[in-house]
């Protein structure tokens, strides 16, 4: 089953094989969860968002036309879900701040080691514009190839390389200059 491609799994799921969808979830759950962690404030929100992504996939795969890779579809759905969560979180933080008179961020303050890692990742990602964030997350943090990144972001490989180069230049101001070897990723 592990060698079955994503498209074949979805075809089996659409044919009525529920186990194919479970296998699809197990294959992508870690990556979707990590990407959700990189975009959301807390790990709890990331779990909920990742579940929401797969629920939407369960309903939306009936309209899937197999033009793109299923992970591309998942990534787009994840972006939408994370944007909704962030809007809601900002609204709740503003409301909490207004009600309590304190910074609402305290209620979302990370305390575990995983949350500290997330905060560091958020600081790195927050240095970059949106498109460069996507490229850095997929190419550097997820370890995807330039081709896979381009397919996921629905752009050309040259565009991915250009965004990556700009992102590396921006991150050099944050990390030690000598630490980042651009040739490793570009």
């Amino acid at each position: 089953m592990a060698t079955t491609s994503d498209k074949q799994l979805i075809k089996q799921f659409l044919a009525g094989n529920q186990g194919a969808f479970d296998a699809f979830v197990r294959r992508h759950q870690d990556r979707i969860y990590r990407l959700a962690c990189a975009r959301l404030y807390t790990a709890d929100d990331a779990v909920d968002a990742a579940q929401e992504v797969f629920l939407r996939a369960y309903k939306g795969f009936k309209r899937f036309h197999f033009h793109a890779e299923p992970f591309t579809w998942l990534y787009r759905t994840l972006e939408n879900v994370c944007n909704e969560y962030n809007r809601r979180t900002v609204r709740d933080r503003t409301l909490t701040r207004q009600l309590d008179g304190v910074d609402g961020l305290q209620s979302y303050a990370p305390d575990g080691s995983e949350q500290i890692q997330l905060r560091q990742i958020h600081q790195v990602i927050g240095q970059l514009p949106k498109r460069q964030q996507d490229v850095v997350l997929l190419r550097i943090f997820e370890g995807m190839s330039v081709e896979e990144t381009a397919k996921t972001l629905k752009c050309r490989q040259g565009t991915v390389k250009a965004h990556l180069h700009k992102a590396m230049n921006n991150l050099r101001g944050y990390f030690n200059v000598m630490e980042i070897e651009t040739s490793d990723y570009e």
Binding site: F21, D22, V25, R26, Q29, D30, I32, Y33, R34, C37, A38, V47, A50, Q51, F54, L55, Y58, K59, E114, Q117, Q120, I121, V124, I140, F141, E142, G143, L171, Y174, F175, N176, E179, I180
Partner: protein
């Protein structure tokens, strides 16, 4: 100095990437998704269908309600002017009060009352009636003050005089061309 210290506290990118890649989904994540999927599948399909949750459905419902409301208002506005036209004016109403007075709660007269009020209005004066009221011709007064006889002397009755008046039809010269366009007439002048 502070910047250098801060930079030293920052984890290198590679270690950060390694830590990131060690993050795994919580245990039982796939089972929770499967359970939620089953719950979704158990719920009625129409409730979760995109049509039911689509904002277009609500927009269409609002449009239908608005159309019905506009239609009702237009129909009410169409019926109102008819009543106002059919309502007799105050002067006529004073001279010819309606047979049945309308109930105090409803200011508009009923259609039957309007018809009755219309019939009770005085008819316009007829020109023939004025002609018929002319004084009858007296044959004794045939001789005028000048001593001669007028042409009316041959008419013995008013009805004859009216018949003569009707027989003398005034021709309509409006269709004739102007004098300048009639051949020969301009030469003669």
């Amino acid at each position: 100095m502070n910047d250098d210290k801060d930079t030293n506290q920052r984890p290198p990118l590679r270690s950060l990437v390694k830590q990131y890649q060690e993050i795994k989904a919580p245990l039982g994540f796939a089972e929770r998704v499967a359970a939620q999927v089953k719950d979704k599948a158990a719920s009625p399909a129409w409730f979760t269908s995109p049509w039911f949750t689509s904002p277009w459905l609500y927009a269409a419902s609002f449009a239908v309600v608005a159309m019905v409301a506009v239609t009702v208002v237009l129909q009410m506005r169409e019926t109102e002017p008819e009543l106002q036209i059919a309502q007799p004016d105050k002067s006529t109403q004073n001279q010819n009060p309606p047979v049945e007075s309308a109930p105090s709660g409803d200011a508009r007269p009923k259609p039957e009352e309007i018809r009755i009020a219309k019939h009770q209005q005085p008819p316009p004066p007829q020109p023939d009636r004025a002609k018929q009221n002319l004084p009858a011709y007296q044959p004794d007064n045939q001789q005028t003050a000048g001593g001669g006889y007028s042409n009316l002397a041959v008419l013995s009755d008013v009805s004859d005089w009216l018949a003569l008046e009707e027989s003398i039809a005034v021709p309509d010269f409006s269709d004739l061309p102007p004098l300048s366009e009639i051949d020969g007439l301009s030469d003669a002048t």
